[in-house]
Amino acid sequence: MDFFFHLLINGLSIGLLYGLSAMGFVMIFKSSSVLNFAHGELMAIGAFLFLVLVSWAHVPIPVAFLITLVGSFVIGFAVERVFLRPLIGEHLIFVIMLTVGLASMFKGLLLFIFGGNLYIYPDFLPSSLGITINTLVIPPVYVASSMTGIIFLVLFGLFFKFSSQGIFMRSVADNQTASLSLGVHVRRVFALSWAIAALVAAMSGIVLGIINGTNVHEITSIGLKVFPVVILGGLDSIGGAIIGGIIIGLLETFTAGYISPALRDVIPYIILVFILLIKPYGLFGLVEIERV
């Protein structure tokens, strides 16, 4: 039974991370219909920025965390401003191909600077963070990753529900012409969605780095998992992204635990195919409200 709970906790915390990272992906898609193939690279950039600050510059952990937050936000903003804005109004396929190009470029740059080695963050999580229930031991990393996931999801939930900018972002996703007619700064909304996407990607990159260590190939390939996650959850649903993330996380860990670690990366895609056969728009994909 302990083994089951152990897997459950692992799966949940990994799943929350996938969900958090997928949320960034969904935000870009919702506001501008762009599929961002550079998502894994944004995660890697965040993870390595944190690595540089902590291991090389020896900045205190909380400060390094904050700098990474702000830094990745700025990077996301700049990526939109420099690479994507000139393409506004062009065919979507060009924009999507551009993100494929961005992915190669970022990955190449990261490999050039850091190589393909595995880096480990210094162990900074206090061991008191771990939780022990009877014989079940939850290591501090998983507690920390779940906490990060939940905190950010709640924060962004509140942001979209109550803040003006959040409501403007949802309005652009809903009806772009109407939001233009009311003076919503649509280009700013695009930029903001990239900035937030880069920020949450960086957060999940850091936590993944704490769990597995940071390696360019590893993190970018995990970044690709946002695709099964968001397709499962429904491409345009933020809530769906989170639940899709948790489902994929659980599937992975249970497969690795009970069947075979080798199947770990395959099973999510197989289940995904079956779910899509039943619900082609994903679990929470938008079913158009027809009544107008």
Partner: protein, 267 residues
């Protein structure tokens, strides 16, 4: 006393995708605190004229190629919608375009986009005061509201922006006659109480000329007639072609409307 002219359109031409010319030299002027109505059949260029003013031609690949649009002394032709809305020109789009997955109140909050740092509670109350039927629907997703409620919603949303010049594109489209009456009554009230200048594009010439002070008739991308509303209402051509009443004051049978072809062009 004549009020100051707030919007002056001088001989503008609008071309879509560099080839399709929709407006061919439209000129009109709008005085402050007035309701000006723009009449004409489908495809006459009414909506394009509004979009030229509000800057919404841009995302549709349209452009003002000639002429000028002067608002409050500032040329605004081909400015971006972000700039134009911040000057106080807000367009209410044709066919009610709510944000379907936002609640009524969230929809209204989007109207504060051009001054989003300021408090908005007062404005909400003002909108609910004009459109009381929205109050009980506050927390409902707009996608589930009726056509009349949605028309009130999109007008209320525009009011949240404190427009100085409100462009209304066919507010009566697809609504029951009683609701249309209610909507027009509210438009007249907004004009009177808020002092908002309004340009009203309509197919329902009868209703439009009742509340408007001045009217223009468009056809084929040109203005073909203008005048104060009471004169336009008495004009035999307008009577016949837009109000559906023959010169003698009686409805004509469909057969007689063949004269429509004969007299369609004024110019």
């Amino acid at each position: 006393m004549k009020d100051a002219t707030v919007l002056q359109i001088n001989n503008i031409s609008v071309v879509y995708s560099d080839v399709i010319q929709v407006l061919k030299g439209v000129s009109l002027s709008v005085e402050k605190h007035r309701i000006v109505s723009l009449l004409g059949s489908n495809g006459a260029g009414k909506t394009t004229t509004l979009k030229a003013i509000s800057g919404l031609l841009h995302p549709e690949n349209g452009k003002v190629t000639e002429g000028s649009i002067i608002y409050d002394g500032v040329p605004v032709q081909n400015s971006s919608p972000e700039e134009i809305t911040r000057l106080g020109i807000i367009q209410v789009l044709e066919g009610r375009q709510p944000f379907k997955y936002l609640t009524i109140e969230e929809n209204l909050r989007v109207g504060t986009a051009i001054r989003w740092t300021k408090p908005y509670k007062r404005d909400l109350e003002m909108v609910y005061h004009y459109f009381p039927s929205l109050v009980k629907r506050r927390k409902t997703l707009a996608g589930y509201c009726s056509g009349g409620e949605l028309q009130m919603l999109v007008m209320g949303r525009a009011l949240m922006a404190h427009p100085k010049l409100l462009l209304l594109d066919e507010p009566s489209l697809g609504l029951a006659p009683l609701v249309v009456k209610e909507i027009f009554r509210i438009i007249a009230r907004i004009n009177e109480e808020q002092g908002t200048t309004i340009i009203l594009v309509e197919q329902n010439a009868n209703m439009a000329l009742q509340i408007a002070h001045y009217g223009y008739v468009m056809e084929n991308g040109k203005i073909v007639m203008e005048g104060i509303s009471s004169e336009l209402r008495e004009n035999p051509d307008v009577k016949e072609f837009y109000l559906g009443v023959g010169a003698g004051g009686v409805s004509r049978s469909y057969r007689d409307v063949k004269s429509y072809k004969r007299r369609k062009r004024w110019l």
